[in-house]
C-alpha cells in the first residue's frame, strides 16, 4: 500500500471513530459556519465535540505546520482528507477570516514570535478576527486612509475610524491598516497592526443597511494604546502586506460564492421559481421576455462556471490567472445581482413586502437578500476598481 493509501485508510478509520453522528450525513446539525472566538456558542454538543477533536488532531487547518496548530499535511494528503470527509458528509466546523485572510500573511510576514502567539489561537478557533481596512472618507481609495498611529515609546496611540468592519461587534481582535507617516506619498506611510478589541478606547457600532441589520460595523479608535510588537512587518511598509491580504480575500470571496454546491442549488431553484410562479401546466413560461432573461442568465452561469473551471485547471497546470481574479469579482457580483433581481421579478408581488403578516418569512429573507446583494458590486472593491485593475494589470493600458 502506498503512503497515500495508508493515509487514506487511517484518516477514514479516525473519522469513522471520531466524527459524532450530529456532525455527519443527512442528520448533520453543523451550522453553515462556526466562526470561533470568545463569544462562540454551540447549538448542539456534537458540533462542539467535533470541533474539539479536529483541533486536537490539527485538522481544522490540516496543511499548517504542527507548531501553529495544524497537522502539516501535504497537498495530496489534504485532498484525500477532504474526500474522506465528504464521503461521510462532514466538513471542518471552523472557518474564519483569521484562517482565510490573516493567517496566510502572518505566515509570510510575521515574526516567529507573532506566529506562535496568534496562529494556534486561530487554528483552535479561540480568537475571532475582523478586518480594519476601509474608512468613511477613503472608500475605494483604500490607501488614502487617515486612521493615525503615533509612536510613543513602546506603543502606538491610534486615533481614527474604520468602516465596513464585518462582525466587529462579535470579534476579539482586529487587523488594521494605520497611518504611521503623513509626510510621504500615501502608500509609503501605512503600517499593519494587530489590535485586541478589549483595549480601552476601541468601540464598535453596527451599520444598518438598505436590507436592515447587517454584519457590518463602524469601529472607532480613541487614543488606543497598542504595543509596537503588535505591528506586522516594518513600519510604513504595511501596504505590501495589505495588498497581499486583499488577494487572499478575493480568492476567498470567489470560492465562497463560486460554482459550488450552493450555487447549483440556487440554479435549480431559479428555474423552479419561474415554473412555480408563472408556468403553464405544460411547464412553458408564457412571458417571453422573462423566459429570455432566464435563459440568458442560465447561459451566463454556464460560461462563468466554465471560466472558473478553466482558471482552476490552469492553476493546476501552473498557469495562474493572476490579476484576472478581478474579472471573477466583477462578473460574479453582477451576475448574482441579476439572478437575484430576476428571481424577485419572477415571484412578483410577494417580493415587494418589507414586513407583513401575509408573507412567509423565507420570502422576506429573499427580499432582504436581494437588497443586501446590492452591496456585492461595492464592498470588497467596487466594480469600478476591478475594471481599473483589469485595464492596468491585465491589459496594460497606460495611466
Amino acid at each position: 500500500m502506498s503512503d497515500i493509501e495508508t493515509f487514506r485508510s487511517e484518516a477514514r478509520d479516525w473519522l469513522e471513530a471520531n466524527c459524532p453522528a450530529g456532525a455527519r450525513g443527512p442528520d448533520s446539525v453543523l451550522p453553515d459556519v462556526v466562526w470561533g472566538g470568545r463569544r462562540q456558542t454551540f447549538a448542539h454538543d456534537d458540533v462542539k465535540i467535533w470541533l474539539e477533536r479536529l483541533i486536537e488532531r490539527g485538522w481544522t487547518v490540516p496543511r499548517w505546520p504542527t507548531q501553529y496548530g495544524g497537522a502539516g499535511l501535504t497537498e495530496e494528503q489534504d485532498k484525500v482528507l477532504r474526500e474522506e470527509m465528504r464521503a461521510i458528509g462532514t466538513r471542518s466546523p471552523l472557518f474564519s477570516f483569521g484562517m482565510a485572510m490573516l493567517a496566510p500573511v502572518l505566515m509570510e510576514y510575521a515574526t516567529e514570535e507573532q506566529k506562535l502567539e496568534h496562529l494556534p489561537k486561530i487554528a483552535r478557533g479561540e480568537i475571532r478576527w475582523c478586518q480594519g481596512y476601509s474608512e468613511p472618507g477613503a472608500g475605494s481609495d483604500l490607501a488614502g486612509l487617515q486612521c493615525r498611529a503615533v509612536r510613543e515609546g513602546d506603543h502606538y496611540t491610534i486615533n481614527g475610524q474604520k468602516i465596513w468592519t464585518s462582525d466587529a461587534d462579535v470579534s476579539d481582535w482586529i487587523f488594521a491598516l494605520v497611518r504611521t507617516d503623513t509626510e510621504v506619498p500615501k502608500h509609503d506611510g501605512i503600517s499593519f497592526v494587530l489590535v485586541d478589541m478589549e483595549t480601552e478606547g476601541v468601540s464598535v457600532s453596527p451599520i444598518e443597511l438598505i436590507s436592515g441589520a447587517s454584519p457590518f460595523c463602524e469601529t472607532f479608535f480613541d487614543n488606543v494604546r497598542v504595543p509596537i510588537g503588535n505591528r506586522v512587518g516594518e513600519e510604513n511598509k504595511g501596504w505590501t502586506i495589505a495588498k497581499r491580504l486583499l488577494q487572499y480575500e478575493r480568492s476567498m470571496l470567489a470560492e465562497s460564492t463560486g460554482v459550488g454546491s450552493g450555487a447549483s442549488t440556487r440554479r435549480q431553484s431559479l428555474l423552479e421559481v419561474a415554473r412555480e410562479s408563472l408556468a403553464t401546466p405544460e411547464g412553458q413560461l408564457p412571458d417571453a421576455g422573462l423566459r429570455d432573461e432566464l435563459v440568458q442568465y442560465e447561459m451566463d452561469r454556464l460560461c462563468y462556471g466554465a471560466t472558473y473551471q478553466r482558471s482552476t485547471d490552469a492553476a493546476k497546470a501552473g498557469q495562474g490567472m493572476g490579476p484576472e481574479s478581478s474579472m471573477f469579482k466583477l462578473y460574479l457580483s453582477e451576475m448574482n445581482q441579476r439572478g437575484s433581481d430576476l428571481r424577485q421579478r419572477l415571484v412578483g408581488h410577494v417580493s415587494l413586502v418589507w414586513d407583513g403578516e401575509d408573507v412567509p418569512a423565507e420570502e422576506r429573507e429573499m427580499t432582504r437578500g436581494w437588497l443586501y446583494g446590492k452591496a456585492g458590486t461595492i464592498l470588497g472593491g467596487t466594480s469600478e476598481i476591478q475594471m481599473n485593475i483589469i485595464a492596468k494589470r491585465v491589459l496594460g493600458l497606460p495611466d
Partner: protein, 379 residues
C-alpha cells in the same frame, strides 16, 4: 398640446414642489415602515393635499372635481414622486377613482366621487391575484344568490387597502381565469362580514393589503355600471394609471439622478472629485439621456389621455416600460455611484431604489408592457 408646461402648470408645479419641501421629508419613510398597524399614510398631509384641490384634478366639476387633465395630474404626481411622498393618490384618485368615473352609473358617480374629490372618502382597487400584473387572471367568483352576489376569492397587493372605506373588487360573473370576458366590478365596503384584510408594508414603506373574500354578500346595486363590463373599464383604468404612475416615477427618477450628480461633484476619492472620472461621466451622460427620454414620453402620454388620442394605450405601455427601466437604472447607478454609503440605510438614495422596484412591478413591468405593446400593435 405642446410638450412644455403652460404657465398655469408651472405655477402648479412650483406650488407642489414647495408643499413637498415644507411638509415632507424622506425620514418619514423610516418611521412608516416600522408601523405594523394603522393607516399607511399621514391623514393630515392628505387633508392638506385635498384642500389644495389636487385630489379633484382629474374629475369633472359636476362631481366636485377641478375638471383638469392628466397633464396637470402628472405635474403634481411628479412632485410627490420626487419627494417619495406616501399618500393614497394612485390608489384612491387614479385607480379606484377612475374606475368609478369611467365605469359607474350616474348615481354611483354622484354618490361616490364628491368624497373622493375632497379626500374624505378613500377607495382602493382590488384586482390582482397572480404573482405579476395580469389583468384578466382573475378567479374570484361572484355568484348570484337571489338578488345578491356572493364573492369569494383572494386578492393581493391592494395598494392602500388598509385605509380604504370602499373597495372596487374585480370578480368573475362569467368565463374563467385568463378570459377577458365575464369580469364585473363590485363596490364592497371594507368592513363587511367575510372580508379579511392582511396588512403588508412594502419595500418603499407604502402599505398594501391582501384580501380574502369568503362568501361576501353584496347587493346587486353594488355592481359598478353593468355586469360583464369589467375588462372594458379596467383596460382604460390601467392605461391611465400606468401613465399617472409613470409621472410619479419620473419625479423620483429626476431626483435620484440630480442627487447622484451632486454627489459626483462633492465626493473626493484619490484626491479628486469622483465626477472627474470619465468612466462615471460617460455613465452619467447616458443616464441623463434616459431621464430626458422618460420625461418626454411621460409628457406625451399624459397629453395623449387628455386628447383622447387613438394611440393612447400603446403610448401608455411605451411610457410605463420606459419609466420602469429608467427608474431601475436610477436605483442601480444611484447606489453604485454612492459607493459604500449607497447601501446604508442612513443614505436616502436607497429609498429611491426601493420605490423604483415597487413602482416597476405595479401595473406591469417593462417585460409586461413590451408584450402588451406588441399585442396592441398586432405583432
Amino acid at each position: 398640446m405642446a410638450l412644455v408646461l403652460t404657465e398655469e402648470q408651472e405655477l402648479l408645479r412650483d406650488s407642489a414642489r414647495g408643499f413637498v419641501a415644507d411638509q415632507w421629508n424622506i425620514d418619514r419613510l423610516r418611521k412608516l415602515r416600522s408601523m405594523s398597524s394603522g393607516r399607511g399614510h399621514d391623514e393630515d398631509l392628505w387633508k392638506q393635499m385635498a384642500e389644495l384641490g389636487w385630489t379633484g384634478i382629474p374629475f369633472a366639476e359636476e362631481y366636485g372635481g377641478l375638471g383638469l387633465g392628466y397633464a396637470e395630474l402628472g405635474v403634481v404626481l411628479e412632485e410627490l414622486g420626487r419627494g417619495l411622498v406616501v399618500a393614497p393618490f394612485l390608489s384612491s384618485i387614479v385607480l379606484a377613482g377612475s374606475a368609478v368615473a369611467l365605469g359607474g352609473n350616474d348615481a354611483q358617480r354622484k354618490s361616490l366621487l364628491p368624497g373622493v374629490c375632497d379626500g374624505t372618502r378613500l377607495l382602493a382597487l382590488a384586482y390582482q391575484e397572480s404573482p405579476r400584473h395580469d389583468p384578466y387572471a382573475i378567479a374570484t367568483a361572484a355568484r348570484l344568490d337571489g338578488d345578491d352576489y356572493l364573492l369569494s376569492g383572494r386578492k393581493v397587493l391592494v395598494l392602500d387597502g388598509e385605509s380604504a372605506d370602499l373597495l372596487v373588487v374585480a370578480a368573475r360573473t362569467g368565463g374563467s381565469t385568463g378570459d377577458r370576458d365575464g369580469l364585473t366590478l363590485f363596490l364592497v365596503a371594507s368592513d363587511v362580514p367575510g372580508l379579511t384584510l392582511k396588512r403588508n408594508v412594502l419595500l418603499d414603506s407604502r402599505c398594501a393589503v391582501n384580501i380574502e373574500l369568503d362568501n361576501v354578500r353584496v347587493e346587486s346595486n353594488s355592481v359598478l355600471g353593468a355586469p360583464g363590463t369589467g375588462a372594458d373599464v379596467l383596460d382604460e383604468v390601467f392605461a391611465r394609471a400606468a401613465v399617472a404612475l409613470s409621472a410619479e416615477m419620473l419625479g423620483g427618477i429626476q431626483e435620484s439622478f440630480d442627487r447622484t450628480v451632486e454627489y459626483l461633484k462633492e465626493r473626493d476619492q484619490f484626491g479628486v472629485k469622483i465626477g472627474t472620472f470619465q468612466g462615471l461621466k460617460h455613465r452619467a451622460a447616458r443616464w441623463f439621456c434616459e431621464v430626458e427620454l422618460t420625461r418626454s414620453i411621460v409628457m406625451d402620454a399624459l397629453r395623449a389621455i387628455d386628447e383622447q388620442r387613438e394611440q393612447q394605450a400603446m403610448l401608455a405601455s411605451a411610457c410605463k416600460a420606459r419609466a420602469s427601466d429608467t427608474y431601475r437604472l436610477c436605483g442601480k447607478e444611484g447606489i453604485q455611484m454612492h459607493g459604500g454609503m449607497g447601501v446604508t440605510d442612513e443614505a436616502d438614495i436607497g429609498f429611491f431604489m426601493k420605490r423604483a422596484r415597487v413602482s416597476e412591478l405595479l401595473l406591469g413591468d417593462s417585460t409586461y408592457h413590451r408584450n402588451r405593446f406588441a399585442e396592441l400593435g398586432g405583432y
